[in-house]
């Protein structure tokens, strides 16, 4: 029965005599060696397997064993054997065989490990490839053991998120308290989502983090999924986390811009409607209406054109707005010697004030052309402005519109500029918080405007 066990055992078995010649070999081992059992008997390993690496040293160890009786365990043997090709490996245990106390030979248990080694090597290569992939990705790949509550894998892209001076390279773990990094407001929701993953669900969620080494809060979009073991129990969860701060900020900026654009457009339509209605009220006939309405629309368009040339947080300057309005009527000092301008360039206006201010300047200009200084060859128009600092940094733009030497007879004295004057005297204070002093003096219009220009760039 022992014979039957020896020959049929699915593991290699062999016995050598004290001269290290095969005495017995079972079928499994003979098959590994590519020989029949009988071909082994009476031969030494050195005869049969000249290509085994380190065979001489092994045989020396056998001889020593014959003296000391110390077995050899877990000996790795690599090389090739008869007819079965190279690159093979075996795990072998050698032990002395005694009769009474005398060592009469050596026994061996041999397991071929070629396939296992190949699979192991492939695994190592595959894992190296995965790590390379994970390191190259700008996303953070992570694998967390829910029993130990530790990361089994955390890809290096986290390092670039943290900061350049967080230590750790390659496989070395990055130490940081990720739970504390999530901002308090988002923490409960983030944990609730991750709890769902432990229950077997896949989740995608976003939260804000304040990472060590970084002052700015970042937005993280995280996809997490359960990695159940064979028994169905989730002991690991995996995830892919992305820094989506830029995307979210761009999205917020766009939403804001679209909202602002929509607001401005609708407001503008309301203004056009109001201008049409009020122009209609003061027009005796359609011809008058057409001319006045067109002029006002042109003034609005000019303001819109100036606004559309601005990018980002740029602001329009008062001198640009004034010169654009005067230019439309050939009333710049370089075109009309009656006009003088005196004031600094570059006083920034609030964008919400531009439309109304443009309309007010338009009313002053058209009034001057129809009834005032620009209707009479000997008259003068002087516009001067300055920035004056007020309380608490509330700077004001002070504009002095002064028409002089206007013969206040005929059209000069007539004051059928009701609507324009109303816009100046009531519109500017209402909408811009301006202070107004509008007077018809003996030699022309004198209008003093003071409006807040405080603007804190974002």
């Amino acid at each position: 029965m022992l014979d039957a066990l020896f020959s049929a055992a699915p593991i290699g078995l062999a016995i050598w005599d004290r001269d290290l010649r095969f005495v017995r070999v079972n079928d499994s081992l003979a098959e590994m060696n590519g020989l029949s059992p009988a071909q082994h008997i009476g031969r030494s390993p050195a005869d049969l397997f000249p290509d085994l690496a380190g065979l001489d040293a092994l045989l020396d160890q056998w001889r020593a064993m014959l003296e000391t009786g110390e077995p050899l365990r877990d000996v790795e043997v690599v090389g090739s054997t008869q007819g079965l090709g190279g690159g093979r490996s075996w795990n072998e245990h050698f032990f002395p065989i005694r009769v009474d106390r005398a060592i009469i030979g050596i026994g061996a248990v041999v397991e071929e490990t070629t396939e296992r080694k190949r699979v192991e090597a492939e695994l190592v290569r595959s894992e190296a490839r995965f790590r390379e992939f994970a390191e190259a990705s700008s996303d953070i790949l992570w694998l967390r053991n829910t029993d130990t509550a530790e990361f089994e894998f955390l890809s290096g892209s986290l390092r670039s998120l943290l900061s350049a001076d967080v230590p750790g390279r390659g496989d070395r773990a990055i130490e940081f308290d990720w739970q504390a990094a999530i901002v308090p407001e988002d923490r409960a929701a983030a944990f609730a989502e991750l709890a769902k993953v432990r229950d077997g669900h896949r989740v995608t969620h976003s939260f804000r983090v304040r990472l060590p080494g970084r002052t700015r809060v970042r937005w993280i979009k995280n996809t997490a999924f359960p990695l159940p073991d064979r028994d169905g129990i989730v002991r690991r969860i995996g995830g892919i986390a992305q820094d989506v701060t830029e995307e979210i900020e761009t999205d917020q900026r766009l939403r804001l811009m679209i909202g602002e654009l929509q607001h401005r457009t609708r407001n503008l339509m309301g203004v056009v409607q109001a201008v049409a209605e009020s122009t209609l009220e003061t027009s005796p006939d359609l011809g008058t209406f057409a001319a006045a309405f067109e002029n006002r629309m042109r003034a609005l368009s000019r303001a819109q054109n100036l606004l559309s040339t601005l990018t980002g947080s740029e602001r329009l300057c008062f001198d640009d707005l004034l010169r654009a309005e005067l230019d439309a009527f050939g009333a710049l000092p370089e075109d009309d010697h009656r006009v003088t301008l005196n004031g600094p360039a570059g006083i920034l206006l609030r964008s919400s004030s531009i439309q109304t201010l443009a309309l007010a300047l338009h009313e002053l200009t058209t009034n001057a052309i129809k009834h005032g200084a620009l209707a009479q060859p000997a008259a003068r128009l002087s516009i001067s402005w300055a920035r004056e600092s007020g309380e608490g940094g509330a700077d004001r733009l002070v504009v002095h519109w002064r028409e002089t030497d206007v013969a206040m007879t005929g059209s000069g004295r007539r004051d059928h500029r009701g609507q324009g004057r109303e816009l100046i005297e009531f519109g500017l204070p209402h909408q811009l918080g301006a202070r107004l002093d509008y007077r018809l003096t003996d030699d022309g219009v004198a209008c003093l405007m003071s409006l807040p220009v405080t603007y804190t760039p974002a």
């Binding site: 607001h263 407001n267 009020s278 919400s352 109303e422 519109g427 209402h430 909408q431």
Partner: protein, 123 residues
């Protein structure tokens, strides 16, 4: 349907030309705009000073400043109000979800209809 005749109205609208147009239209209907202001601060000031306001019309965006503090105050005083806006409905503060809103540009006819059908504040 309630009549606007004799109603005292607070108008909060930063765009002067729109405010002027609305004021005149309301006057034609027999209502009077007792306060016409462009900022939250000025509106709250008017609310503290004016003895009686029957209705309020609020532009949601006052040169970038949301009008909601005024709406909160009006609600506390049980003064009915409606919103004017250049924004779509989804941008609204959820606290005022039930408040009627007119999107600009509005016609005077729509405003009048909306004002006449504005729900009375809860008793």
């Amino acid at each position: 349907m309630i009549s606007l005749s004799g109603k005292r109205i607070l108008l909060v609208e930063d765009e002067y030309l729109l405010a002027r147009q609305l004021t005149r239209a309301l006057a034609r209907e027999g209502a009077s705009v007792v306060g016409c202001v462009a900022t939250v601060a000025a509106a709250l000031d008017q609310l503290a000073r004016l003895p009686q306001i029957d209705l309020a019309i609020l532009d949601i965006n006052l040169a970038g400043e949301p009008v909601y503090p005024v709406a909160t105050e009006l609600r506390q005083r049980d003064v009915p109000f409606l919103f004017l806006s250049g924004y779509e409905l989804e941008d609204r503060d959820p606290r005022f979800a039930g408040v009627p809103q007119l999107s600009k540009p509005i016609t005077i006819a729509t405003l009048m209809t909306a004002l006449r059908t504005i729900p009375a504040p809860p008793e």
